[in-house]
């Protein structure tokens, strides 16, 4: 792999940028692989990377029906945090934050992980109860999260309106300082490049159309738009399309897919130093390195595969943003888009083996998958390599729905992930 550094940039600056090579090969499918990952988003590419790097597999392919990073990896608002309530979730997401902290160096790709702090606003007594419960649980789990008064919240985020008379007055905030944002595209590309360097074939424009199984029922390969490919280890990491793929192996998934929207303003000079979320009035906001205000809205009420949401949903979010930050009311929406989020009954993910030997699934990240990318990929690689879950992802199995052993963060906290 060509080493990226300031030195390399300087060298290429003086030689007309002629020395840069492909960041990943445009691989054609081989007849067979030791493992195949379906889904070229951050989670899938990361899985291939960790399979190769930590578990020694070399003959791996990632199949992507479009272009890598084109799904939710490239459509989210890039918030990263781990101040989750339940032990299982805190362990999962904090595993991820720890990997984020070393990811740029690990991949030799600047994913711009910026630990700017994520502040979640409280607007009433119920919010305070919920957030303080989080703060206490996080402290005992070793996850940083602290309670701020409205004045402290304002000094952490000066544009915030904390006037006591406002419609939903800010009564405090929970702040995780290690939380922040990253550059979403770079995560996909960085993993792709590093995985490619370890021999992983990244195959774009390759849509899986069937899953083959042998007489014992074990996975034996996939049918694709570019022909049949054999494998005995198949990982499905396809977000909203996971249900469709799993159905090819006769598996019905506990998933519903909803459109989720986000939008950006025109870029402005630095004004907003952190991430602010308000679940009570449905808004979250940060400022990108480019200067755009990045704003997330809620999901539509109806299931859909259309990658766009309803106007009244994004309008409601802007109402909330304008109340919390009245100086942004004249800022202008530059672009609004949608993604499809796959939601489980308890809004927690599935990272698991399935009842089909050789078939593994990683899905159900709902509205909060980006933050988990490195941890999810690492744990899924472990699960595929060892044919058993790591202890962190063991609770995130498929059986929990039948057993009722749910990990319901959203119900517990009324918190959008």
């Amino acid at each position: 792999m060509q080493k990226f550094s300031a030195f390399a940039l300087a060298k290429e600056a003086l030689s007309g940028q002629k020395g840069w090579t492909r960041q990943w090969r445009d691989a054609a499918p081989k007849p067979a692989y030791e493992a195949i990952i379906v889904g070229g988003g951050g989670h899938g590419l990361g899985t291939a990377y960790y399979l190769a790097k930590k578990h020694g597999l070399r003959n791996i392919a990632v199949l992507e029906k479009g272009w890598i990073g084109g799904g939710n990896t490239g459509r989210n608002t890039t918030i990263i945090r781990s101040n989750y309530l339940f032990d299982e979730s805190a362990a999962l997401y904090d595993h991820s934050v720890k990997l984020w902290e070393g990811l740029s160096a690990d991949l030799n790709y600047n994913v711009m992980f910026s630990q700017r702090g994520v502040m979640m606003l409280s607007h009433n007594v119920h919010d305070e109860q919920v957030f303080k419960r989080h703060v206490h649980a996080n402290r005992l789990n070793g996850v940083d999260n602290e309670w701020l008064s409205p004045d402290q919240a304002k000094s952490f985020c000066p544009p915030l309106n904390i006037a006591p008379g406002m419609r939903h007055a800010v009564t405090g905030a929970a702040l995780q300082r290690r939380a922040g944002t990253a550059r979403h595209d770079a995560v996909a590309w960085g993993y792709a490049r590093a995985a490619d360097a370890l021999g992983v074939d990244i195959i774009q424009n390759c849509e899986v159309t069937g899953i083959d199984r042998d007489a014992s029922g074990r996975v034996s390969g996939v049918q694709t738009s570019r022909g049949a490919i054999a494998t005995r280890r198949l990982g499905i990491v396809a977000a909203g399309n996971t249900s469709v793929l799993m159905a090819m192996a006769g598996q019905r998934m506990p998933l519903e897919s909803y459109p989720l929207q986000a939008l950006v303003s025109e870029p402005i000079k630095p004004i907003f130093p952190c991430v602010v979320m308000s679940n009570t009035i449905h808004a979250y906001i940060s400022q990108s390195d480019k200067g755009e205000l990045v704003i997330g809205a809620g999901t539509d009420a109806y299931i859909s595969y259309s990658q766009r949401g309803a106007l009244h949903i994004s309008s409601h979010t802007l109402e909330a943003i304008c109340e919390l930050f009245p100086m942004f009311r004249r800022m202008r929406m530059l672009r609004n888009w949608g993604g499809i989020v796959d939601v489980t009954p308890d809004r927690s993910p599935i990272i698991a083996k399935t009842e089909v030997p050789g078939l593994y699934v990683n899905c159900g990240w709902g509205t909060g998958g980006f933050k988990a990318t490195p941890g999810s990929a690492d744990l899924f690689a472990y699960t595929m390599a060892k044919d058993e879950p790591h202890k962190i992802n063991a609770p995130f199995n498929l059986e929990r729905f039948g057993a009722g052993r749910l990990i319901d963060e959203a119900a517990a906290a009324a918190v959008a992930h």
Partner: protein
């Protein structure tokens, strides 16, 4: 400065009205009818901004919404300041104050331009390749510096002072764009009597014809005809920004921005949400720049824009121009400028042997034309000073001095809205452009947006669209020969590594950035866009996307239709947040709900809290009482005498019909069949996963009528859930649901003296203990008002809840308060209500429960109708994890070792507070209060296997200390329930 570049005649400006304005503090003047851009050009100002990445000096490129460079901040004060406005779209008004952006300290001298001198070190995507070391340096060191260089304008520093309006509308035909095609379409549709809405972003209708003096008579005629139709709604200054499913279009109408410094009483703008039977997009076409070395200097502009400045604004954009083109239309611009007194130093045409009437006109005017030629470089720092022209493929170039360069690579139809509607684009090889193909909604493209290039064709296609949209027969389209132009980087023969030919002006993306991305393996057009940022600036690639596609196509040897486009997204041009937020601000943002008693409570000095959208009185302080003191007093008053509580926010649903009882049987865990009219029952509602979602007291008013109450926050959720089941699962039941939350005021009278207080006010009912036991309901009159009188208690004391029509709520409340004075009646708020119920171990859904608790977890197994075949959540309750009794969290009481210590709600419980982190947590505190009745603190908690642990000591670790607690039964007060009967 005088308007040195203003022409003496012509144009649509009003020379009688001189309009003063400032740019970066410099005073200038323009005329009514100017844009800020045309007024700046009239004053000889081309340099108006700095680019995003390299901070290159930039001038005005266009005359419309596609402008990539001329971005300015405008506003008289911080409350009216908007950054990043395109000078080409800002109508000039008296006193307008504009400032340039992204420069320090001045537009002419910008320290940020150091990046321009070091441009070789900053190719596309450079930031992915460095700044990775040491760990943490990105957040603390590199990122803040990159952020400071990036960004364009600055945020307003004060809250927006303006107001915004919103409106919904329906029509038969919505015509977007009032150029020749749109005007023809609107008139053709209106002739059939159809209701038509015609919108255009410009202050005047006419589109491209506003810059065609030769067509002014035709235009005037069409406008006059429009005025004759009452069925046409005309919306100038209105941008159609978004195309939503089912033919809903978002329009943003500017109401006052163009008027300048008006009062804020009138709305600044209005968001229209139009549902149209048919949409006609007559949105025109956008001219493409040519991509040649150093094509970004101030003074280099689109040819048609230059012609527009001459013909519409009577401004001469320079004195000596070179025209660089691959399209005939630029010759018209050359002739216009020539006639306006601009010297045309050369027309440089990329094509080998162009011919046609436009060329003939240029030749007739004596303009020098060089065909099969190209521009290989330009000179000039803050303004273009010269270009180097060479025959394609030849080595030597001719230097031509100039202060203006016109460029035209042809026209790109504006297919943004059509594509937003999910219509399929088709590639037209004759145009070298995408045009609307198969539509996904009832929508028709017309005029230049559909690929027309001649006026005749545009008018005919507009008329055809208008007829077709109203179901009329349509004549055959006008045949025309269209011309493509040029896509991609022009041939210049120079070392590609040493020149910069800009594709995306605002984001400083050059042709070689795109080829670098391709070389690095970014082949999908989406990857190219994201890696180079081409098309991601505030103009969203209106002038750059097709050239980027051309470069990709040529480099990869793949035809453009096989590459495809990036996704067109709303909004077409940036729209202020305020338009979307509309009226929803202050108290109208999620409008406050107040009970009929609210004003009374406010008069008494109550302190309110937000509970969902409601304001609820939290406590009623007397004098200088703290909340703690007030609540202790209120609690004591209820336990010893009587208290008055406003429970009006409780959700209420009237369930009627012959199957009402069966419906409740299926929804709630409880059994309802045997509940007699006149009796109440505490109901529990589960989700299908077996967890409690709501609770409330349900009264049977008659065999076929129930009065259901829900939690305050759950009212809408429960009604939705019931309707969902009724309409999708229980379609066999004859049941009707009506929300009555706001129809009743609910007055709770609680305490041993409650009956004595209300008895004198009750008519038509016997409320004696014998006649009206606990958990019964009677319809009667209270204080002369028809009432549903519940005997029910959420305090553990003798209690009544009086439901009266909301309009009489305050009158009845005051009557009770009056009657209670001799009994020492005290109003109490939600905080006291919470303490009193916690003393009794009554749960609050959402506080003790959190969406993960079953009825058994909170000790409510007794409520489940065991004999019922089914209810929502029944099957889920049988699941192993829910049926297990050993590791579920269960409701218990907590008593601290120190009775004065009130635990913090949300604190967690552990067995060993000295264990290392991460600790094994056994549960958490859900409610915690000072109990006046018990003269100590109490708390409720959900604890793993809690009921079996009663009597054990656990610990609450807090920062720096730990609190020991003993687990108890959750009922702290009157466990026998003796006080319910007073």
């Amino acid at each position: 400065m005088t308007q040195k570049y203003r022409l003496a005649t012509g144009g649509l400006i009003d020379r009688r009205v001189t309009v003063p304005f400032t740019f970066d503090g410099k005073a200038m003047t323009g005329h009514a009818g100017d844009t800020l851009a045309s007024a700046l050009l009239a004053n000889g100002v081309h340099l108006v901004g700095r680019s995003f990445k390299y901070h290159r000096p930039r001038g005005i490129v266009s005359a419309g919404a596609e402008e990539p460079n001329a971005l300015v901040g405008v506003g008289r004060d911080e409350g009216h300041y908007t950054p990043n406005l395109r000078a080409t779209q800002v109508e000039l008004y008296h006193g307008l104050r504009a400032e340039s952006q992204n420069r320090t300290p001045s537009l002419e001298r910008d320290v940020g331009s150091i990046t321009d001198r070091l441009w070789r070190f900053f190719p596309a995507g450079f930031y992915y390749k460095t700044f990775m070391w040491p760990k943490g340096a990105w957040t603390k060191f590199f990122e803040p510096r990159i952020r400071a260089i990036a960004g364009l304008g600055r945020s307003p520093a004060a809250p927006d002072a303006a107001r915004y309006a919103q409106i919904y509308a329906h029509c038969d035909v919505l015509v977007i764009g009032a150029g020749p095609a749109g005007l023809s379409a609107a008139l053709a549709a209106a002739e059939t009597g159809a209701r038509v809405i015609l919108c255009d972003e410009q202050p005047q209708f006419g589109g491209a014809l506003l810059a065609e003096p030769g067509q002014s008579a035709w235009l005037a005629e069409q406008r006059a005809r429009l005025a004759g139709f009452a069925n046409i709604t005309m919306l100038p200054r209105t941008i159609a920004f978004g195309y939503f499913p089912h033919n809903m279009i978002g329009l943003a109408q500017d109401l006052t921005d163009h008027q300048g410094e008006t009062s804020d009483d009138a709305p600044r703008g209005r968001l229209w949400q139009v549902r149209a039977k048919q949409v006609i997009t007559a949105t025109g076409a956008i001219e493409r720049p040519l991509v040649f070395p150093d094509n970004d200097r101030p003074g280099i502009m689109l040819a048609d824009a230059a012609r527009t400045y001459v013909e519409r604004y009577a401004v001469k954009p320079g004195n000596r121009a070179v025209v660089f083109t691959a399209h005939d239309d630029a010759y018209r611009a050359a002739v216009s400028l020539h006639e306006a007194g601009v010297t045309i130093a050369a027309i440089v045409d990329l094509r080998e042997s162009p011919e046609g009437p436009c060329l003939d006109a240029a030749r007739a005017a004596g303009l020098p034309i060089r065909t099969h030629a190209t521009i290989i470089g330009t000179e000039g720092n803050l303004r273009v000073a010269a270009v180097s022209v060479a025959t394609i493929g030849a080595a030597n170039a001719e230097r031509i001095a100039c202060d203006l360069v016109l460029m035209s690579g042809g026209f790109t139809p504006s297919v943004h809205l059509f594509s937003q509607s999910r219509g399929k684009l088709a590639f037209d090889p004759a145009l070298d452009a995408f045009i609307p193909g198969t539509p996904a909604e009832p929508t028709i493209a017309a005029g230049a947006a559909s690929g027309c290039q001649s006026l005749e064709a545009a008018i005919a296609s507009g008329r055809a669209a208008g007829l077709s949209a109203t179901g009329q027969a349509v004549a055959a389209p006008v045949a025309e020969t269209v011309a493509a132009g040029f896509l991609g980087e022009v041939p210049h023969g120079r070392d590609p590594a040493s020149v910069r030919a800009f594709v995306d002006f605002q984001n400083d993306v050059t042709a070689k950035d795109i080829t670098l991305a391709l070389a690095e393996g970014f082949r999908s057009i989406e990857h190219v866009k994201r890696y180079t940022t081409t098309g991601m600036a505030t103009d969203q690639g209106k002038t750059s996307n097709m050239n980027a596609l051309g470069i990709v196509s040529k480099s990869l040897g793949v035809p453009i239709p096989s590459i495809g486009t990036t996704t067109f997204r709303m909004p077409y041009t940036p729209i202020p947040f305020g338009y979307f937020a509309g009226y929803a601000r202050g108290d109208l943002f999620e409008p406050v709900r107040e009970t009929p008693i609210h004003a009374w409570a406010a008069e008494q000095g109550a302190v309110f809290e937000d509970v969902s959208l409601w304001k609820r009185a939290r406590y009623f302080p007397r004098g200088a009482e703290t909340m703690h003191e007030a609540v202790a007093r209120e609690c004591a008053a209820v336990r010893a005498g009587v208290g008055l509580f406003d429970a009006s926010t409780l959700g209420k649903i009237e369930i009627t019909g012959p199957d009402a009882a069966e419906f409740l049987n299926r929804m709630y865990v409880n059994a309802w069949t045997k509940l007699k009219p006149g009796r109440l029952r505490y109901g529990i509602l589960l989700r299908e996963d077996g967890f409690i979602i709501d609770d409330g007291v349900v009264g049977r008013i008659a065999d076929d009528r129930f009065h259901v109450t829900t939690t305050t926050g759950g009212a809408a959720r429960v009604l939705n859930m019931m309707e969902d089941y009724l309409q999708t699962e229980f379609t066999d039941l004859k049941v009707w649901l009506t929300s009555t939350t706001e129809q009743y005021a609910v007055i709770a009278v609680q305490g041993p003296r409650a009956r004595e207080v209300i008895a004198p006010l009750v008519e038509d009912a016997d409320i004696s203990a014998a006649a009206m036991p606990h958990m019964s309901v009677v319809e009667c009159r209270v204080a002369g008002v028809p009432a549903r009188l519940f005997r029910v208690s959420f305090t553990g004391e003798l209690g009544f809840e009086i439901n009266v029509p909301a309009d009489y709520g305050r009158a009845v409340w005051e009557a009770i308060d009056q009657a209670g004075q001799t009994h020492g009646i005290v109003p109490y708020g939600t905080e006291t209500m919470h303490v009193l119920r916690a003393e009794k171990g009554y749960i609050i859904v959402g506080q003790e429960t959190d969406g993960t608790a079953t009825p058994d977890d909170v000790g409510l197994t007794w409520a489940i109708g065991k004999a019922k075949p089914d209810f929502v959540g029944k099957r889920a309750l049988a699941r192993t994890a829910l049926a297990s009794q050993t590791d579920r969290k269960q409701l218990v009481g907590l008593l601290t070792a120190d009775p004065a210590e009130v635990l913090e709600e949300g604190a967690h419980l552990v067995a060993d507070p000295a264990q290392p982190i991460p600790m094994t947590m056994l549960g958490h505190v859900t409610s915690s209060y000072w109990s006046a009745a018990l003269n100590r603190s109490i708390a409720l908690a959900m604890v793993r296997n809690g009921r079996a642990r009663i009597g054990e000591t656990l610990h609450v670790p807090l920062p720096g200390r730990s609190v020991a607690v003993t687990l108890t039964d959750p009922v702290f007060y009157d466990p026998e329930g003796a006080r319910l009967d007073g």
